[in-house]
């Protein structure tokens, strides 16, 4: 089922939570909604589900498979919704929670008791909670509740799956497993899914498309590669993954970054140099191109990559990520003076990308 949102806005009192959103979700696509806390992700998802009404507006419209659903209620939209705060039924056991959607189906579509049981047990197995069918939500840990919320939404095999941070409280293991399963479900059933996440890695890994939101507006829509490698705005660049930001100023035709610029100065004639930590190489000599002298401050070797924190002459903190291999090659030592060479970087001046020259 394809979903189209046209001119959707939402205000709470005089707070604009969504500002004129236009977006299309292809049938069978898995889309990630990515954005900082409070950017309107939940609100958008709730509007799609029909749990919240968008501001009334002549042009506003929501289409499911080209049919407008603006006035059709939640329970007719056939959406599975995983709530950010779970919204489990307190008075029902885990089993009853998951079975609920099946049990309320119209009699002629309702599966038999045994089928319901089998289905629920299958889902319980999926979320690794077979032994807890008889528990009440209050007797579950946070992650367990989240898994039940997920299983409950999946039970009804909806055409559209809306997931509000469905894995937020889960550890990497279970998360990876459920993620894979979600991907597979997708590829076999061709449901249209939208999931909210605050974890850009997850978005990049799982989604077909990523929608980056900020302050109630959409900053960029694109494939994971697009948003990561060609961020449309400075915000997207900063939001997707760690970034070292150097503040500089525009002087004549160059962006100058070799001194500290107070942040308070406003955006006029200022420039920002953005370099991802893994795009910096550490060298013991400056070399030919632009290089930033810095001092090694802290090295974290635990984890799949080595994180090196350095401090430049202006006392700015700089992060560099290396593979264990290259780390072993370069032999960085604490407090050593080194040179950082950006392999790739972006410069933004005023509000646009800067294509001119720059000096570090």
């Amino acid at each position: 089922m394809s979903i189209i949102l046209r001119n959707i806005s939402k205000t709470f009192g005089d707070f604009h939570a969504l500002k004129n959103i236009n977006i299309e979700f292809q049938s069978g696509e898995l889309t990630a909604l990515l954005g900082p806390s409070g950017s309107g992700k939940t609100t958008l998802l709730r509007i799609v589900a029909g749990l919240e009404e968008a501001d009334r507006n002549a042009n506003a419209d929501i289409l499911f498979d080209s049919q407008t659903v603006t006035s059709s209620p939640v329970n007719r939209r056939q959406v599975g919704f995983v709530f950010q705060h779970y919204a489990l039924f307190r008075h029902m056991t885990v089993f009853e929670n998951i079975a609920f959607g099946l049990r309320v189906k119209p009699r002629d579509q309702r599966p038999s008791k045994q089928d319901i049981k089998d289905k629920v047990n299958e889902l319980l197995r999926l979320v690794q909670m077979e032994t807890m069918a008889g528990r009440y939500p209050s007797q579950l840990s946070g992650g367990q509740r989240q898994r039940i919320a997920l299983a409950r939404a999946l039970a009804i095999e909806p055409k559209v799956l809306l997931l509000d941070e469905p894995f937020g409280a889960l550890d990497a293991q279970v998360r990876a497993e459920l993620r894979r399963w979600l991907r597979k479900l997708h590829d076999t059933l061709h449901v249209t899914s939208i999931f909210v996440t605050h974890d850009q890695e997850e978005a990049l890994e799982v989604a077909d498309r990523i929608v980056v939101m900020n302050r109630g507006a959409i900053e960029q829509i694109g494939s994971p590669n697009e948003v990561f490698h060609c961020p449309a705005t400075e915000f997207v660049m900063q939001f997707l993954g760690d970034v070292n930001v150097f503040h500089g100023r525009i002087e004549s035709d160059s962006a100058i970054f070799n001194e500290v610029v107070p942040l308070t100065e406003g955006r006029e004639n200022t420039a920002r140099l953005l370099v991802r930590p893994h795009d910096l190489t550490i060298q013991s000599t400056p070399g030919a191109g632009p290089a930033l002298p810095a001092k090694v401050y802290r090295v974290l070797t635990a984890g799949p990559i080595v994180k090196v924190e350095l401090i430049d002459r202006h006392n700015r903190l700089i992060q560099v990520h290396l593979s264990h291999d290259s780390y072993n090659h370069t032999m960085v030592k604490l407090h050593e003076e080194v040179y950082l060479v950006p392999r790739e970087s972006r410069v933004y001046a005023n509000n646009d990308a800067w294509t001119g020259a720059y000096v570090i």
């Binding site: 589900a49 749990l51 209620p73 939640v74 329970n75 056939q78 959406v79 599975g80 919704f81 709530f83 705060h85 919204a87 489990l88 039924f89 307190r90 008075h91 029902m92 609920f100 959607g101 049990r103 309320v104 189906k105 409950r152 939404a153 039970a155 009804i156």
Partner: protein, 282 residues
Amino acid sequence: MFINILRSTDKRPGLNPPLIVNMAITVIALGFLFMFVIMPLIIVLKEAFSAGLSLWWASITEKDALSALRLTLLVAAIAVPVNLVFGLAASWALAKFRFKGKSLIITLIDLPFAVSPVVSGLIYVLLFGLHGWLGPWLGEHDIQIIFAVPGIVLATVFVTFPFIARELIPLMSEQGTDEEQAALSLGASGWQTFRRVTLPNIKWGLMYGIILCNARAMGEFGAVSVVSGHIRGETNTLPLQVEVLYNEYNFVAAFAVASLLAGLALVTLVLKSIVEWKTKHG
């Protein structure tokens, strides 16, 4: 079990008051109930049985008493369900939605309580009485409303009108709409959502509402007295029967019948136990 006496029902440490505070609460609560409920109950029972068990039994199995009991049960059996339906509808509309004029509606729901019982009966006399708005028309068609069962039912419905709604409204608004939204998103219809999600969450409040409504429906005297006509064996409810007996200087029988009504409090116990049992066992 007995080790737990006076301990808090929830065993989480730190939050619960020390034993001495629990003791004080218990003493105050029991003292208050003792002064205002238990002692009056003892008085009623003492008077009821003052002439022995057999006279008590004779009093409550007397013909008029039995017919009064039947009428009382009938009236409650109509008034309680009717107000139950209203209470559920009203609390749904008033607790789960926000709209203008809500406080006014709630106030109007409270109103029947503020009306003196006699007046509660009187208003139906003013409506359906011989000189009331509808009286002449009813007379022509030989329809008897007041001084007959319909009038008694109406008066009872009026005086017990707010109970269930008012019990549920604060509870329901407290619980918000999260779970209802979840149910709807799972495809449940409005009615299914209400029955399977909302109702179980308010079951205690609902039960108290029904119990209170029922108790009052059975115990109501003033309003019913005005519209009953006091015809023996026909339009006397138990409370009216009590009055009749009392006014006939038949003190013991009056209290015997009253003790029957007091015994209705036991219904609470039974009902609550049933609900609890059901919660536990599916």
